[in-house]
């Protein structure tokens, strides 16, 4: 038996206290570089959110069309983390933290799709007149567009923020994944439960990160998947808070939120309800409507009437119908939804199927 010496007791003390710290054990396969300007608490929050995602059980499969349009696949949490890892690489804190100093190359650079820019370039001037107010912003695509518009390579000195990576970051692609995070991201008021550290809160924050990650994609017209102005009558009419393509940033965050509400086993019903509302808010921002001809409108009205009747039939027979009969009715309902969707949006809906990012060679 070991002697009860002071040294042994000290070792025992260290061992026992370290056992109590297992809560801090992380097993995430992806983690972005996080600026030294963040507080320790903020850094822990980000890591714990990613760790939570990595430990979630298998996600149900995403809609194949959504997967095709966004590369976002369900199945395993690691797939989602990999998707994120390809698009979110550096996190800097907004407002109080100064942005990295940037430099433009002297020589002219030929950018791919040189004369093609996104329709909505709301972030073009964010570099020159930076005033970060939104919760998060994808600076990488902004710097890239800035350089592309001037045909200069933009480089950032990131040593002050990230002391353990190469000092100079060349913005050769929106996939440089430089994301700015405002302090409101960590506020309890910006969370699902109002507490900030519940599973649903982590999932909401993650949805924001996924959203910004999507802005790292695209080329030419789809570069950055910039937002569109919401039309008259919309909840956010007149604001740059909607998406015209069906596979933009709001689709990504909506899909993530919807699946979160479905698969989060540690979320209580109240949290799931709040996640559903967050999903509905995001989904409603995807503008997939076009102006219909009178004939098309008439057809749409007929389809809508059929849908109304089908729902009533479903309600009337739900408790007495067999599973097989329910599945038939659900299949008819889904079929009608698709027909309505095709009629309203055209087929395919505006989707940038090839959303791979462009890059300077």
């Amino acid at each position: 038996m070991a002697k009860l010496t002071v040294a042994n007791i000290l070792l025992l003390y260290i061992f026992l206290t370290s056992v109590g710290a297992t809560d801090n054990t992380l097993s995430i396969s992806f983690a972005p570089e996080i600026s030294t300007k963040f507080t320790n608490k903020q850094i822990r929050t980000i890591y714990r959110d990613l760790d939570f995602l990595s430990k979630m059980k298998e996600w149900r499969d995403f809609d194949p069309e959504i997967t095709r349009g966004t590369d976002l696949a369900g199945g395993a949490s690691n797939d989602l983390l990999q998707w994120l890892g390809e698009r979110v690489k550096y996190l800097v804190i907004g407002k109080t933290g100064a942005l990295p100093a940037f430099y433009a190359s002297d020589e002219t650079r030929l950018y791919p799709n040189g004369d093609t820019f996104p329709e909505a370039m709301d972030n073009l001037f964010i570099v020159e007149n930076h005033n970060q107010q939104t919760m998060m912003a994808n600076l990488g695509v902004s710097y890239y567009l800035f350089g592309k518009s001037r045909r200069r390579l933009i480089s950032l000195n990131i040593a002050e923020h990230f002391p353990f990576v190469p000092e100079i970051l060349d913005i050769t692609s929106p996939r440089v994944g430089l994301i700015e995070v405002n302090r409101s991201f960590f506020n309890k008021e910006s969370s699902i439960t109002g507490l900030g550290n519940r599973p649903a809160d982590k999932l909401l924050r993650l949805s924001f990160i996924f959203h910004e990650g999507r802005h790292s994609d695209g080329h030419g017209e789809s570069l950055g998947f910039f937002h569109s102005t919401c039309p008259a009558g919309h909840d956010y009419a007149g604001r740059l808070a909607c998406d015209t393509p069906a596979n933009g940033a709001y689709q990504v965050s909506a899909t993530f939120l919807k699946k979160s509400a479905e698969v989060c086993e540690s979320c209580d019903e109240a949290s799931k309800e709040a996640l559903r509302l967050a999903y509905l808010d995001a989904r409603n921002r995807i503008l997939d409507r076009k102006i219909l001809t009178p004939d098309q409108q008439e057809t749409l009205n007929e389809l809508e009437n059929k849908l109304n009747e089908l729902v009533r039939s479903m309600l009337a027979n739900f408790n007495s119908a067999s599973d097989h009969q329910k599945n038939i009715l659900l299949g008819e309902m889904e079929n009608l939804e698709i027909q309505i969707h095709i009629l309203k949006n055209g087929f395919p809906a505006k989707v940038y199927w090839k959303s791979a990012p462009e890059a300077l060679e």
Partner: protein
């Protein structure tokens, strides 16, 4: 061991236990106090028979409500009162489209805090509905709440859609005939995206 070593050992053990206690307390302090609904802890029980046959003379609506209440046991009445109070509070605070229009651009880029708060409140209400499936009056009040919410064109589309989703689920659970045709197609599409018949 010498007395001096024993004394050192004792001090060490006291220090260790103190720091362990502080650590545990700190961890507990970090855990927020859960918001709890202040409801009776008694589980839902079967309705007790009406004992008093005397009914006060009141207006028809309140007579109906009082009759409903009389058919409920005490626990159910408490739950119902709590639900009605909460539903009224929430309804008075639901943000309207006009409220969202007043927000700054940066506040609407992601889901506004007003909607997050609404989600919390609607979530608490839903928990009450799910907690008392055998309270028929509470379930009816819930249906009224969700229908009023879904009908009101002044509410944001997301809120109306969530309310319609819940209204549809209650109809499904009770085998009720509920017509969704009056609602805009965009809301119906959003509701069906949530798969109300698969949950």
């Amino acid at each position: 061991m010498s007395p001096k070593q024993i004394r050192v050992l004792q001090i060490f053990i006291i220090l260790f236990l103190s720091s362990l206690t502080l650590y545990v307390l700190f961890q507990e302090a970090e855990k927020p106090i859960e918001e709890t609904l202040i409801l009776t802890e008694d589980p839902p029980t079967k309705e007790s028979p009406i004992k008093s046959k005397e009914k006060p003379k009141e207006e028809k609506a309140s007579q109906t409500r009082q009759k409903d209440s009389l058919e409920l046991n005490e626990n159910q009445k408490k739950a119902l009162q709590q639900f009605e109070r909460r539903a009224q509070e929430i309804q008075s605070k639901l943000p309207r489209k006009a409220d969202l229009q007043k927000l700054e651009d940066d506040q609407v880029h992601s889901i506004p805090q007003e909607l997050l708060q609404t989600g919390r409140q609607l979530g608490q209400l839903k928990e009450m509905v799910l907690r008392y499936p055998d309270n028929p009056v509470l379930q009816e009040r819930a249906k009224e709440f969700y229908k009023n919410c879904a009908d009101d064109e002044g509410y944001p589309t997301s809120i109306r859609s969530l309310c319609l989703f819940n209204r549809l689920q209650l109809a499904k659970n009770s085998g009720e005939d509920f017509d969704i045709s009056p609602y805009p197609l965009e809301i119906k599409e959003l509701v069906l995206q949530l798969n109300p018949f698969r949950q």
